[in-house]
Amino acid sequence: MIPPPGGLAMDAGLPSTPAALAAYIDQTNLDLGCTRSEIRAFVQTAVDQRFKAVCILPNMVPTARTVVRGSAVKVATVVSFPLGADTPTVKAAEARTVADMGADEVDMVIDIGRARAGEYTAIREEVAGVRGALPVGVVLKVIIEMPLLDAEESVDAALAAERGGADLIQTSTGFKGLSLRPTVASDIELLRSMLKPETGVKASGGIRTTEDALGVIAAGADRIGSSRGLAILDGLRTPDSGQRPGSAGPLGTYGPVISPADAAGDPVSCLASGLGWGRTPRT
């Protein structure tokens, strides 16, 4: 049972202000079919809120790059997302193309089928291939899709990715066709207990509230990926701590303010019909 954010935030080491929490978050929009202007607005909001990074689809890297200019916000994108079922050669080539366009960080998906089959050497090699294709300094996060793996497979896949050169191990794609459950604190504790201290852990997939975020940070997460970054920050907002974009003035109350994610800025979907994530996995 996770205590309310007010209580959790008192714990040593946990972020207690929106700005401190924003430094953990990759504000993410991997929706199907967003226009360039929708992505520009999304990235600008992330810059205003000083998130750690924006995570957007590969064809939006140049657009994001121009908006973050002059800020500390990093541009992250995805490789072999969300299915991970590309050859190692193609993954490395994809990584090189996004780095060439100016991505600071790359979130790649492993070949999940091979992890399920216990082929961890192949996982290490595909990660090493991507690592080798990236310029020094580009951060490599490796998504192992824990919702499709058991604990032992998760650990073995994470260790293989670490040996292949991952900077951070990431829990999930959050893609509904694959991710049958959200990331939970125990996923983070498991990874944290097995990985080297210098290897980071990124929690992603179903992290939607301040409580979710502080819970995974307490469990050891270094980074959070979420499309609900603004809603996550809301729980720590006070009249002095800075405003949600679009809000009219200082919030009237201290303490957690939980607002609907779509009230002011988190992209629920770029497509009016709410498409983008569907029910049934294919191929």
Binding site: M60, T280, P281, T283
Partner: protein, 220 residues
Amino acid sequence: MRDLRSAELALSLEASIATPAPTREELEEFFKSLAGWDYAAVMVEPAYVTSSRPILSAMGQRLATVIGHPLGALTTQAKVIQAEQALEDGADELNVALDVSAFRSGDYQRVIDDLTAVRRLADAGAIKVIYYAAALTDQESLRAAELIGEAGITFLITSSGFQGPTEGHQVEVIRARYGSALRLMAWGEIDSRPEAMAMLAAGADRVATSSTRALLGTAP
């Protein structure tokens, strides 16, 4: 439309596995489950083309794979690299996702150039384009079909399979405008025989499904 015999229906199906992120073993079991009929094609993800090719060749089945799937958001350069590798690995058909962000941004030339770069790699007949009907209005779907045609491609796919159910109306809109000048595959939650028959009745040439057994019954 009269009900087809299973053998005839199978010839209109593009079959894929239902299990997400299958192991090679699960994929081979799936191929075994297909025995007994000839299909339009069997669809596998790019990483599995090499290992699937000899098995599907022995079964006499065509092999289709996906490019830029399911979000259509790769750079053109990455799509080309992915397509080149898939063809080299033995794919007969490429299901290529349209850059729907460029399309919705009104950058039509970019949509055409992106598809043309992939189409140049193979016979036009080997390329099908996913145009995300469920994300577009009828008017936009027709515009997308026009751009796909400008790229020299005449085989459309309604969806990546991840955007909810495909509807007969989506097929009819394209069919009404283009008649037999375009071919069309319906993809998206077609899991029963009546659903597949409805798509064919609406004018689809092909139906993608990961429920082949439910559609066809037990093999002869």
